[in-house]
C-alpha cells in the first residue's frame, strides 16, 4: 500500500470517527463506540509486544486492571482529583509491567506465554480475594467522571472525543516507536536475536523496554476503562480480558497500526450489539475468528490490503 493511500485511509477513518456522535441515533450506541475505542488502546498496546516484539502475552489485561483499580480506588476511597489519580494509575500500571517483565522475560515462546498467564491470574486472584482493597467481586463503583480542561466527561460526546484523542495519541506514539531505532531493534530482536547480539545489543534490555512500553499504554487503556464504565471489578484483569485483547490483535492483524483497532471494533460490536440478538454469540465470535484466519491468515487488515493490491494489479 502506498504511503498516500495509507494516509488517505487514516484520514477517512478519523473523519468517520469524528462524525459518529452526529450519526449514531443515541448515547447507547455512542457508548458502544467508546468501549470499542478504549479496548482498541489496549489491543494497540498488546501489539507492541506481539507485532513488534514477537512476544504473545496472556496477562496483558493486568496493566489495564491495575491502572483502572488505581483510578477508582484513589478517587472513590482517597478522594484524589483526576489530575493526581491519573498519573498515579499510569505509574502503578507501568511499574506492574516492570515487575512482570523482569519475571516473564526469563523465558521465550510458550514459557513466556505461560508466565504472563500465571502473573495475570495472580493479579486477578488478588483483585478477587483482597476484598478490603478491591471490593472483591463487587468491585469499586465510581460516582462520576471528572471535568478535565473544561470538558465535562459525564457528557457522552465529550468523553467520546477525549477517548478519540487518546487513541490518536496512542496511534502516533506507537507509529513513532515503530519508526524509531528502538522499534527497529525490537523487530530485529523478534526476527533474529542472535544477529542483534552480534551487533552489540543486549537483547533482554530491548525486550524489557518494549514490554514496559506496552505496559504503559495498557495502563492508559485502564484509565479510560475506569472512567468509561465507572466501575472496576476483577473481570477488568481477568484471563478472558487478556485473551480477548490477544484475539483482537490476531484477528485485525498483528504488526499493523490499523489491525488491532479493527479487531477491537469487530469483537466489541459482536460482543455488545450482536449479543443482544443472538444467544450463542461466543459461537459466532469463534466462527468469525476461524473464518478470518482461514481466509486471511495474517488478519483482516493485511488480508484486505493484499486483496486490494491483487485487484489493482
Amino acid at each position: 500500500m502506498t504511503r498516500f493511500a495509507s494516509m488517505r485511509g487514516w484520514a477517512l477513518t478519523l473523519i468517520a470517527l469524528a462524525m459518529l456522535p452526529f450519526i449514531l441515533p443515541s448515547d447507547y450506541y455512542l457508548g458502544i463506540a467508546t468501549h470499542a475505542l478504549v479496548i482498541a488502546v489496549l489491543a494497540l498496546s498488546l501489539d507492541i509486544l506481539i507485532g513488534q516484539g514477537g512476544m504473545s502475552s496472556l496477562g496483558h489485561a493486568a496493566y489495564l486492571g491495575v491502572s483502572a483499580y488505581a483510578v477508582a480506588w484513589t478517587t472513590r476511597n482517597a478522594g484524589w482529583p483526576a489530575y493526581a489519580a491519573i498519573p498515579f494509575a499510569l505509574a502503578l500500571g507501568t511499574l506492574t509491567a516492570c515487575v512482570f517483565g523482569v519475571l516473564a522475560l526469563r523465558a521465550r515462546g510458550l514459557g513466556f506465554l505461560m508466565i504472563t498467564l500465571a502473573l495475570g491470574q495472580v493479579m486477578w486472584g488478588a483483585a478477587y480475594r483482597w476484598v478490603d482493597l478491591t471490593g472483591g467481586d463487587n468491585g469499586i463503583r465510581m460516582q462520576a467522571r471528572p471535568v478535565l480542561l473544561g470538558f465535562d466527561l459525564n457528557n457522552a460526546t465529550n468523553f467520546y472525543i477525549i477517548v478519540c484523542a487518546v487513541l490518536l495519541t496512542t496511534l502516533i506514539a506507537i507509529y513513532k516507536l515503530d519508526h524509531s531505532a528502538l522499534g527497529a531493534c525490537l523487530r530485529g530482536t523478534r526476527d533474529q536475536p542472535r544477529r542483534m547480539r552480534m551487533l552489540g545489543h543486549d537483547v533482554w534490555k530491548i525486550r524489557f523496554v518494549g514490554f514496559v512500553s506496552a505496559g504503559f499504554w495498557g495502563a492508559v487503556a485502564g484509565v479510560l476503562y475506569a472512567y468509561d464504565y465507572l466501575y472496576v471489578g476483577p473481570s477488568a484483569l481477568s484471563l478472558p480480558q487478556s485473551a480477548e485483547a490477544l484475539l483482537m490483535v490476531v484477528l485485525g492483524g498483528a504488526g499493523t497500526l490499523a489491525g488491532p483497532v479493527a479487531g477491537a471494533i469487530v469483537i466489541t460490536v459482536i460482543k455488545t450489539v450482536v449479543s443482544s440478538y443472538v444467544d450463542r454469540w461466543y459461537t459466532l465470535l469463534g466462527l468469525t475468528f476461524i473464518i478470518v484466519v482461514s481466509v486471511m491468515p495474517k488478519g483482516l487488515v493485511p488480508g484486505i490490503r493484499s486483496w486490494m493490491k491483487g485487484n489493482r494489479a
Binding site: 531505532a181 527497529a184 523487530r187 530485529g188 526476527d191 547480539r197 552480534m198 551487533l199 552489540g200 545489543h201
Partner: protein, 238 residues
C-alpha cells in the same frame, strides 16, 4: 612499541566434544589486512566465532589492542570495537535498509571521521537509492554492501569479514575488494576469511593458512603466494 590490533594466542575451540581449533595463533597488525585461508572445514569460521564470543575458547587468549576479550559475551566484544561481516550477509530481511543500519549504530568517543548513516550512503550510493526498501528485496551484491555498512556503523577498530565475495558476480567482487582496500587505507584493521585466493592475496598484508584446525603456514602474503608447495598442500588449488 605499537600494540597489535588483534592477537589470537594458542586457542583451542570445541563444538561439543569435537575439538576443532588446535592452538591457533593469529596476529593482526594495526591498519593491515590479514587473510585467513583454508579449505572447507579448516576452522576459519570457527576462529571468527571464537573471536566474536559465540564459542568460548577452552585454552588460549584473545586480545584487541591489548585488552583481553576471550570469554566475553558477543555484545560486549562488539562494544570493545570488534565487528563482524558474517558469511551469507545475515542482514534483517524484514527491516528497511535504513533500519538495518540504524540498529547497528554505536557512537564512540574520539575518531576523526566516525561512521554515520550518511557516510555509509556516501560509500555505497546504491544503498542510499534503496534506503526505504526492505533489505530482503536487495540483490546479493547490495546485501553484501549493506552487511559491510552495518558493521561499519558500530565504528569498529577491528573488522572481521567472513567470505565477503561469496556468491557475488565478478564485477561486484572487484567492487567489494576496492572497498576493503579503502577501509585499510583509512586505518581499519581487517581479518579477512576468504575462499577467493586471488582476492585475498591481492588485498592481504599477511596470510595465515589453517588446515584441519591447525596453523599450517603463516607469513607475508607475497611469500605465501610464491610458495606453490604450501598452497598445493593446504589449499589444493593453483
Amino acid at each position: 612499541m605499537a600494540i597489535d590490533a588483534l592477537v589470537i594466542s594458542e586457542i583451542d575451540s570445541f563444538y561439543g566434544d569435537s575439538h576443532v581449533l588446535h592452538r591457533v595463533c593469529v596476529t593482526l597488525r594495526e591498519g593491515e589486512i590479514l587473510a585467513l585461508l583454508g579449505r572447507n572445514g579448516a576452522g576459519k569460521t570457527t576462529t571468527l566465532s571464537t573471536t566474536m564470543g559465540w564459542l568460548k575458547p577452552r585454552h588460549g587468549s584473545i586480545a584487541v589492542f591489548g585488552e583481553q576479550i576471550g570469554g566475553l559475551a558477543p555484545e560486549n566484544i562488539v562494544q570493545k570495537g570488534v565487528a563482524l561481516v558474517p558469511q551469507g550477509r545475515r542482514i534483517f530481511p524484514s527491516l528497511s535498509v535504513r533500519e538495518n543500519l540504524a540498529v547497528a549504530e554505536i557512537k564512540r568517543k574520539g575518531g576523526n571521521r566516525p561512521w554515520t548513516m550518511e557516510r555509509v550512503f556516501d560509500t555505497f550510493p546504491r544503498l542510499r537509492e534503496r534506503k526505504s526498501q526492505t533489505a530482503g528485496s536487495l540483490s546479493g551484491g547490495e546485501q553484501q554492501m549493506l552487511a559491510i555498512g552495518r558493521a561499519l556503523m558500530s565504528n569498529p577498530r577491528v573488522l572481521l569479514m567472513d567470505e565477503p565475495s561469496e556468491g557475488l558476480a565478478p564485477q561486484i567482487v572487484a567492487e567489494v575488494g576496492r572497498i576493503i582496500a579503502s577501509l585499510r587505507e583509512e586505518g581499519l584493521s581487517i581479518l579477512l576469511v576468504e575462499q577467493n585466493l586471488e582476492l585475498a592475496m591481492t588485498l592481504a598484508n599477511d596470510v595465515v593458512i589453517l588446515n584441519t584446525g591447525r596453523v599450517a603456514a603463516s607469513g607475508k602474503a607475497s611469500d605465501i603466494a610464491a610458495d606453490q608447495e604450501v598452497l598445493d598442500r593446504n589449499l589444493g588449488v593453483f
